[in-house]
Each structure stands twice: as C-alpha cells, then as structure tokens.
Symmetry: C2
Subunit: 437 residues, 2 copies
C-alpha cells in the first residue's frame, strides 16, 4: 500500500507548524504556498518602517524543510478544493489549475485585508500582510519625506508629512510608534528644507480604545505612550472615504499622501472552496478537533478557522495557528498509524504583547499586566526566541541593539524593481485571488 | 558675498568621495542622485545571488551626509546641463526640469549597460548596475528553480536550469562562481523533483580569456577554478541574439530562461549634456586636472570620464572614482579659498581583485599576483574595510562567516512588490534616461 498523502495549503505559522510536526509520520506531505518564504509576521511592521531587511524576517520554506525528506514544497497558488474528489487545484508559474489529490488536507491559508466593502481604498491605503506589501509601504513612507524636501512651498510640507494609520490594533499601534521614532530620531538632521520631527502621525479607529484585545489598563498605557510620542489618536471615528488626497474621518478631511491600512482582515476563500458554514467574518466553522463537519480528513487552522473556547472566539494570532498546526498533525498522525486520537483542541494562551515606540511595550498574560521597558525586554526576548533560523536571530538581535543605541535603521532604501510582464501578471493575479498565506 | 554653490551629480563612489572631501569648504554643496541610497557596487553580485540583503550594501545618502551641514541631498534625475547659464536641470517626483544653478559642477553619473546596439536584449537579459536590478535578477534566478521543480517533464528540466552569463569580466566571473556555489551547496536537498546541482552555468565572452584586465596567469587560475566549479567557459564567442527562449552564441542556440548581462557598459549622457568631446565609448575626455576643456568650473569623474595615464586609459573601478572625487574636491577648494591648485591628478593603483566561488579569489597589484584562499581573505578584509557604515560592516561580516560555514544565504527571497502607477512611471522614466549613478 502506498503512503497516504497530506496536503498543507499555506506556509505561515499554522501550515509550517503542521508540516514540522508531521516530519516522522509515514506519509507523503505536500506543502503549497504562493511565496517562496515563510514570513515572521509579527515583525513585518519593522520591515515597513525600515528597521529590518526583508531577508531578516523571511526564510525560504524549502530551506526550513530541506531535511524533512517526506515533504515536498510547491510554489503555487491554490484556486479551489474538490472535497468529493479529494483534490486541490493549484496554479503555478507554468500551468493553471493542476489537480493535486490528498488523503488528508490542512488549510492554513491565513487572511488578507478587508476594506469593509471599499476595495477602492486599497490603491491609496496599502495593507501590511506580506513582505511585498511591507516593501511597498517602506517605499511610500520614505518617498513622502523626499517629496516634502523637494517641495519649495512650505505650506505644503505639513500635508506631505501627514501619515495616517487606519486601525489601532497591534499592527497600527506598532507602526505608529515606529514612524514616530523614525521621524524624531532616525531622520533627524538629514533634511535641509523640512524638519521630519514636524510630521503629523494620526492613528484612527472606530473602537473606543487602542489595542482592543488587551486589558483596559494596558490600552490606556499604550495610548498615553503614543501621545507622548506625538501620535494623534482618534478613537470612535469611522473612515468615510480614502482617495489620492487623503482620508475623510468622521466628516473631516485629513490631507495625506501616506495612508496605511491595518484595520480589517478578510479570511481566505477557503470557506467558499469547501462550500461549508462560515462565521460572519467568513471564517470556516470547525469542530473541536479542528476538522470540518462531515469531513474528518479536512482540518482548517489559524486565521482561516473560527472556533470558540470558553464561549469566546480564539484570536487571530500566531500562537493559535501554531498550536492548531501541531494539533492537526497529531490528529492525522493518529489516524495514519492507528493510534488513539488526541483529546479535543485546547488553546493555551501564552499572552500577548505590543511594542509602542522605542523601549516600551505592553504585555499581558493570565497572571501579568505589564507596560514599559521590562515588557519591551520580554517582547524582544520572546520574538528572538521564535525567530527560528539561528542566523536570522543573531542578525535581528544585532540590528536591534544598533538601532536602539544609534537610532539608525538597517534597511532605509527606496528600491523599486522593474517588474517584467510575466511578474506583473503574477502580481495582479495575486491581488485578486487570495490563498497561500 | 554669498557662498559659492557646488553641484555634484551622482552619489556613487566618485560623487560621495567628492562631497565628503568638501565637508569643511565654505560653500553650499548640493548632491543629486536618482536613488535615495549609495550602493557598494562591488558586492551587488552578492545581492543578485541572495547572499546579502539590499540593506547590507546600500546606505541612505542622506544618512551618510547627515552631519555635513553645508550639504543638501536631492533625490531627483538630472536631465541636462546648461554650461553657459551654469545650471543643471532636475526632475523629481513632483516637478520636471527644475533648474539648479552652480558655480562649480562635478559630474559623477556613472555608467549603465550597453547592449552594443541591441537594446531589445535587455528585456531578456537584465544587467547588474543597481539594487533594483540585483533584486530583479535574484527573483529571476530563484524562480528558475521553482519553475523547474513545478515541471513534470524531466526533459525540460535541463533547459530551465541553464544559466547564461554574458561577459567574463569581474562581474560575470563573480556571478558565475556565486551561482555555482548556490546550486551545489545552498540549494542542496531542497528540491524533490530536480537536482539543483545538475544546473548548467555558461559564461560567454568575445574576449580570449576571462578577467581581461588581470594578468594572464590570474585569468588562467580563475578559468581553472570556474571549470572546477562546473562552469562552462566559452571564450572568443560572440552573442548573436537573445530572446525569451535563450541565447544564440556563435551560431549555436543555448536554451535558457535565465540570461544575465554583465558585458558592455555605456556611459551616462553627460557628454551629450555638455556637448563636449567624448571617447569612442562615449566618455567625456577630460584634462589632467579632471576639468572639461574651456570649463575650469566643470569636473567629470569616475566612469563618466575618459583619462589616460602612462598612455593607458584609467579603468572603470571604484578606486579611480574615489581618488578623482577627492581630487576634484581639492581642486575646487583651492579655487574657493584662493590656495594654490593641486598638481595634476595621478591615479594610485591599489590593485584589483575578483572572487571565484567560495574561498577563492585572484588578486593583483603592482608587486603581487596571488590566487587562492589567501587572496580571498584579502578580498574579504578590503571589502569590509571599504563598506563604510559600521553596522553594515558587522552584519556583512557575520553573514559571510555564516554563509561560509553553513552554505546558507541571507536573503533568498522572491519578493515582487506591487508597483503603483506613479512608481511604475518613475521606473519607466528611469530605464530610458540615464543619470544619477
């Protein structure tokens, strides 16, 4: 009898954790992702704000799984699933909709941005979900200062140096803090016509407080810190409109060339592929063992899935995805080797953290609420620990020390590669179809 | 009386050396470049072959000159010079052909690629002159392996894994060596369908030997080393044609999706701007004090200039550009402060080096011909020394040690940023007009 085939879609935290946990299972594992690299998403904002290089938080998936002989990595875009025929459809650089059969399927396809029905905002307010997006935002951010420096009319400087972040969740707060440090420290004395420190940074959210998933005292500490960094925090305000000239918030126009979207997340189309029940946000409703009802061979994990624990939906964080990936691997392994299945999935919350500017973070776990420098040290230690590949860890560590001491950043480049026709098509496909991670 | 104005066009080795040497001169200095960063060109091939990140060899020009209060940096594209009115024309993100007047002008606009009258080759055989170009080549190179792995028909694998380098000068030789190590070491055991080590690497040149500027014994050593690394070296062969399917060399078609151009260099249009005499290659003929005849206020330096010393033209290397930049600064300073002018420019040749694969380089100076590991150590030491910004130096050093020991590279990413309309236009402009560096 030939070995069973396990297909994993997505090389993010969930898919990769599943693949690694399956390394000793007698099966043929196929991991499909539409990029060649795994991204350490929690540090994406540091690439967008030019602290780190893309190479410091992205590692080739093939490299990570090189010694796992039972696993094949495919660079391709999943376009659908046929759960009756048990196959996924994949388009790669060469061919469209090639079918790949499976005995077990793990969907870990992550999220993309939701503009809440206003997809036309995307052109003016890019989101931060991939390395390509982070590089795009970095170019945009750095070009704003160049545009302002080139502008002879000082009355236009303020508009050109207005940065608006939509969404006061962890990504929005971390971006706002990083931009504040960029303008006040890194870019200091580099311009002759403008003063980067005069830049206006606005953080907008409909929610009544920043960092809604955190405890109120930590939201308050983060808010206070943001204000000390000079960030204008506008809460309870909805975004009416975004265009080339800026944003309209609660009826008021803020002129800005640099609006960044960190607000809504839209799940991947996995629910549509499977034609199964989803929650209001479009995430696949799964059972306590992470499988889809009536399809014990299909697990859905991470941000793609909707699961409640103690009456509350699990948050869309890396820890949930990783723990679910490992659980899904254990479940499938038990079926293959005929072992008793694991008990139902239970998320162990190790806590959450968010950085605000330089040397300040908020941290909460079941027992601790902490804000300030010690929380920031804990944040740095935990992120370095999870950064995986040891060369990345060393290089990020050194970069942080350097940046902390000198204010200088590692990758403050405006690089716009020429996009060849074939690549351009690939990119356009990517922005309309959501899969991979 | 107001201070004299010195305009420097180009932030490469020449322009930057001039700007730095002018830091204490009582003048207003304006440095114009079309990118926001200085690139350490000798290591560009390491970005193209994914050893280093763009951020490790590129530093923001503003950052380098931040504390030089007499200097303003402008991100813009010079489109022409009016030497009678003493002004340059600059287009930036906002406006076109803004005129900037000067009292002294230093043109250090570097080179771009020459396809010897076959500009249609560029689409299929990108060249290596900028970080954007290096990232484009990196994407292309890494995608070739992905395409081959996705291809079910093994008879097509060889064509997809054929890499052709046109030009056996230092860049071509270094690229060929780096690709050979990539396929045999870095990518080992990462693919399941293809064996990267089976890749075919072809180095083509019309010249009778590799590394023509080096002594024949070193060319021979480099050639021998390339062959040991599995590189097919084809000398005395001219390129007839390049298209989407590959290249025709001396009548024979080599099927390849990955052709890289490192052959000809075309000088910037500085000669046309100035309407002065140029050499056959289009470089501005300058006098022994680096000025243009009849225009003692205009210096042309680096690859843009043509100057003979001891009956031989000076080579297009960083050392010449840097020494000329410093000389031009000294000359202009002497005029401004009324000091005696320096004696005529004399190039001091510190020697040349080229790396071939891993732990092997060739090195020549007036007294020494050396090839092998010791030459490679010298190469590494010299390049680290010149890498300038100290954080870059540390991070490149650690990356090299890591890569040397493990074979792993630092930035093996395929990242294709979405190019917004405004950026796309900027890029298209850039590929038709040559200036900056």
């Amino acid at each position: 009898m030939s070995q069973p085939k396990i297909v994993i879609v997505g090389g993010g935290f969930g898919g990769l954790a599943a693949a690694r946990a399956l390394r000793k299972v007698p099966a043929k594992i196929i991991l499909i992702d539409r990029t060649n690299h795994h991204v350490f998403q929690p540090l994406l904002y540091q690439v967008a704000t030019s602290v780190l290089s893309p190479g410091q938080i992205g590692s080739p998936i093939r490299g990570i799984l090189r010694n796992q002989k039972n696993t094949t990595v495919i660079l391709g875009e999943v376009t659908g699933v046929d759960k009756e025929q048990k196959c996924v459809f994949v388009s790669d650089a060469d061919r469209e909709n090639v079918s790949i059969t499976y005995d077990y399927l793990i969907l870990a396809t992550g999220v993309s941005h939701s503009y809440f029905g206003h997809d036309e905002f995307e052109e003016f307010a890019p989101g931060l979900k991939s390395l390509a997006g982070a590089v795009e935002i970095r170019n945009k951010l750095l070009q704003a200062f160049e545009l302002a420096e080139a502008e002879e009319d000082p009355s236009r400087h303020r508009d050109l140096l207005t940065f608006v972040l939509v969404g006061a969740g962890p990504t929005g707060v971390e971006m706002a803090g990083a931009i504040a440090v960029l303008v006040r420290s890194t870019l200091k004395s580099e311009f002759r016509r403008i003063d980067p420190a005069s830049a206006r940074i606005v953080l907008v959210d409909m929610a009544p407080r920043v960092l809604p998933p955190f405890f109120p005292d930590l939201s308050k500490a983060a808010n206070h810190r943001l204000e000390r960094l000079g960030v204008e925090v506008r809460l309870g305000h909805s975004v009416d409109h975004i265009d080339a000239d800026g944003i309209i918030v609660a009826g008021e126009r803020i002129v800005s060339k640099t609006v960044i979207w960190t607000a809504g997340v839209a799940p991947s189309p996995a629910g549509k592929w499977l034609k199964v029940e989803t929650d209001r946000a479009g995430r696949v409703r799964i059972q306590k063992d992470l499988t889809v009802p009536e399809h014990p061979e299909i697990c859905v994990i991470g941000d793609t899935a909707s699961l409640e624990q103690n009456g509350k939906p699990l948050p869309g964080v890396a820890q949930v995805a990783m723990q679910q990936g490992r659980y899904a691997a254990k479940l499938i392994r038990s079926r293959i080797v005929g072992a008793p299945p694991p008990g139902q999935f239970s998320y162990f919350d190790k806590g959450s953290m968010a950085v605000v500017g330089k040397g300040f973070a908020v941290l909460q776990s079941r027992k601790v609420h902490l804000s300030g420098f010690v929380a920031w040290l804990a944040w740095a230690a935990v992120h370095l620990q999870y950064l995986g590949q040891s060369s990345l860890r060393v290089s990020v560590f050194l970069q942080w020390i350097w940046t902390y001491l000198t204010g200088q950043r590692g990758s403050r480049l405006i690089v716009i590669p020429r996009v060849s026709e074939s690549n351009r098509t690939a990119v356009e496909t990517r922005s309309t179809v959501v899969s991979g991670k």
